[in-house]
């Protein structure tokens, strides 16, 4: 365990050193982060800007803002921790450099999941955290609610990681996986809004088919104290099930890997 923690520290140091060489890119990353959170904020601002509108899907403005904050935070998590790693899997399979990863005396899934970071997009994390805290400060929040929300949000991050890993693992059979993650990004865009803001059939799709509801709506509900007990249990169960399944899927993919030349 300590070995893996030490490795994470080493990986982080190496990737930081490589990225900070391009200092000019910081401005660009900040602009992009601002634009992305701008999209999410404008979406709810126009909705609540209509005369007579006090709630969307039963959520007040600050409650909906909480969802936007968690959405931005999750986008940041994806662009800092997940995407830089997952986008390299397809390339490694195609060029055969996956061989080196598999030969190393550490778990290959751990290695490909933690090797790279995109520190430039840390701004997303900061904006997301800021929005979440700002929104929560306008709501009555209990310590128990914060704890529950934090735990459920960890489950949410596990779910996001598993979906990305599963999509990227298909690279062992298909050459390109970028399109699959693009498609997930499209569906994930719906997480800007509380899931109750959608018509009922779509809500079911966002809960049971692509579990987007568990990523932003459920932790926000825990924070506002409006969470049904069923969902408290469902979220960790979904996360655990997805983690086990993607782990099995990954092992199977590695088992069928025959390098680039054969």
């Amino acid at each position: 365990m300590t070995r893996y923690l030490r490795l994470i520290r080493l990986f982080t140091g190496a990737t930081l050193a490589a990225q900070l060489e391009y200092r000019a890119n910081f401005l660009g990353a900040i602009l992009a982060s601002l634009a992305e959170s701008g999209v999410a904020l404008l979406g709810i601002a126009v909705l609540f800007g209509q005369p007579g509108t006090t709630e969307v899907g039963g959520w007040s403005f600050h409650q909906a803002l909480l969802v936007v904050g968690l959405f931005t935070l999750t986008e940041g998590f994806i662009s800092v921790f997940i995407q830089p790693n997952m986008s390299k899997i397809a390339e490694a399979v195609r060029t055969g450099s996956m061989d080196f990863t598999l030969l190393k005396p550490i778990d290959a899934q751990f290695n490909i999941s933690t090797r790279n970071l995109n520190v430039l997009r840390v701004t997303d994390l900061l904006i997301g955290a800021g929005l979440t805290i700002y929104a929560a400060s306008h709501l009555s929040v209990t310590p128990g609610g914060v704890l529950a929300a934090a735990l459920l949000y960890v489950c949410a991050l596990v779910i996001v990681y598993c979906i990305w890993l599963a999509l990227s693992t298909t690279a062992f059979w298909f050459v390109k996986t970028q399109n699959a993650s693009e498609l997930f990004n499209g569906v994930f865009g719906a997480a800007r809004f509380p899931v109750t803001a959608f018509p009922v059939p779509v809500r079911a799709f966002l809960t049971f088919v692509v579990p987007v509801a568990f990523i932003t709506t459920v932790p926000a509900q825990a924070l506002t104290g409006s969470l049904s007990p069923g969902l408290v249990v469902a979220s960790p169960l979904v996360a655990a099930a997805l983690f086990t399944l993607t782990r099995l899927f990954w092992l199977r993919a590695v088992g069928s890997y025959t390098s680039a030349s054969s």
Partner: protein, 267 residues
């Protein structure tokens, strides 16, 4: 003239052959641009829950019509040239293209145009499917479709030129593609992708009418929904033409200045 026509034809045919290779991807790209569709679902359920079943005179079916129309028009408006220029300039693959007796811009323009032809049948099928599911009803006036199509063509050309200019910024900076994201946000907001323009605060509307954005996205969508007149379309076309000229001059200036800088790097 005939030689120009022949050039254009060859450009189109070669790019079309290239783009048909990507036909499966084209459908995925179409489905991943979901902002209009997400906004449509949220507004529809807002209207259904509102007293009287409508917001500012839009009932759920009218919201479906408007947002499906912006989705369709937005699909005709997709431009990725900034990414390609960014890569070509950084990796130097722009150099061989400079040897040809033609501005490399036309290669990109033809590629985008050919992709639109590949995209169109799939677009019609998807719009028909979504319209049937969401209960959208489009205009029955053929003139409205022609006008919307004309505006979309002008709007696409304007967007192509400004994206091209942003892509050219790669001569100076490494983060040209993030400028593109910021400009996209302005385009989506003022174009009416979040809501019809009349839903915005009045000062935003007053600013928006001077920009090209409402006429390339919101106006064609309103024409398809039967909520705008041909006179509106004419006025919009004039504004777009003005911007088209402005972006053309801007693009040409940035290209000439940038090329001098590019030569200096290579030499």
């Amino acid at each position: 003239m005939t030689s120009l026509w022949r050039k254009a034809r060859v450009l189109f045919i070669t790019r079309f052959a290239e783009m048909t290779e990507y036909r499966a991807e084209v459908v995925i790209w179409m489905l991943s641009g979901t902002l209009s569709l997400v906004m449509m679902l949220v507004w529809m359920s807002q209207a259904a829950a509102a007293p009287g079943g409508e917001i500012r005179g839009y009932n759920p079916s009218e919201f479906a019509t408007y947002f499906l129309s912006t989705w369709a028009v937005g699909q005709l408006m997709v431009v990725w040239v900034a990414w390609e220029l960014d890569m070509e300039i950084r990796q130097g693959t722009l150099s061989p293209k400079l040897l040809r007796p033609m501005d490399p811009m036309w290669l990109h323009y033809a590629a985008h145009f050919a992709e639109r032809v590949v995209r169109f049948p799939a677009l019609l099928a998807l719009v028909a499917l979504f319209a049937w599911v969401a209960g959208a009803r489009f205009s029955t006036d053929p003139a409205a479709y022609l006008a919307a199509f004309g505006l979309a063509l002008l709007g696409f050309s304007a967007r192509f030129l400004w994206e091209y200019t942003i892509g050219l910024l790669a001569f100076w900076t490494e983060s040209s593609t993030s400028f593109q994201e910021v400009v996209w946000l302005v385009y989506a907001a003022l174009g009416g992708m979040f809501a019809p323009l009349a839903f915005y605060p009045e000062w935003v509307q007053r600013v928006a009418v001077w920009t090209p954005f409402p006429y390339m996205l919101g106006l064609p969508a309103q024409l398809l929904a039967g909520k705008a007149t041909l006179a509106d379309a004419g006025r919009g076309a004039l504004v777009l033409l003005f911007w088209l000229v402005a972006f053309w001059v801007l693009r040409l200036t940035v290209w000439r200045v940038g090329l001098r800088k590019y030569g200096a790097v290579g030499a």
